[in-house]
Amino acid sequence: MKVLIPTPLRQFTGKQAAVEVAADSVGEVLTHLTSQFPELRKQLFAEDGRLRRFVNVYVNDQDIRYLENENTPVRQSDTVSIVPSVAGGGNHERLHGHSQ
């Protein structure tokens, strides 16, 4: 099935925005992906082997955290999306950068 690679990770996949993988579960997808592109592993997984907290993985429109995590089964027609979190905020602390 197709695995969509977000912009920040494409330098580890030879600039490919999508990679085809044959697998039966999300875990297998990620294993095949990181076997094919070893440098990707460190970006996706923490030292304890778990997906980094800001790495969201979707099977079609569903977050694997609400399915069976890496045991979530996948079909060849599915699309797996890797989506780093998007967040931030001004907060009330020291700010950086210049003003235009």
């Binding site: 969509l4 977000p6 912009t7 920040p8 494409r10 330098q11 925005a17 970006q43 980094r52 800001f54 969201n56 979707y58 429109d61 977050d63 999306s81 989506v83 780093p84 979190s85 998007v86 967040a87 931030g88 905020g89 001004g90 907060n91 009330h92 602390e93 020291r94 700010l95 950086h96 950068g97 210049h98 003003s99 235009q100």
Partner: protein, 144 residues
Amino acid sequence: MALTIARPEWEQIRLHGEETYPNECCGVMLGQIGDDGVKRVQASVRCDNRQLDSLPNRYSIDPREVVHIQREARGKGQDIVGFYHSHPDHPARWSQTDLAEAHWTGCSYVITSVINGRATDTNSFHLDGYEDNKRFEAEEIRVE
């Protein structure tokens, strides 16, 4: 590094911050990243700020929304080139929170300061490096 943006999109991003004031707005910028590293914004998509416990000074975009936006963008030959949000009554500069929560290396993070409901400065910051060494670099915004 630089960001080019069509004037209508530039105005919409700033207007969004005025409309959500005193809360932070947020959204996705779509376009292409050229071989020269310049990000060309062709469209922007407003998103809901899901940081409901701290709307005035925090933002977060539902990853599911990003999945949808990315899917539609791919159909148009566009890519995610960055994100924007506003700082109500705060300068258009990145905070430690902005950096800690930034994970889209190679993309732009555009921040608009909205003072008393009016958009003032808008700055763009290119995210370089990865988790161990990531940093924001100020970049030029070219409104076309």
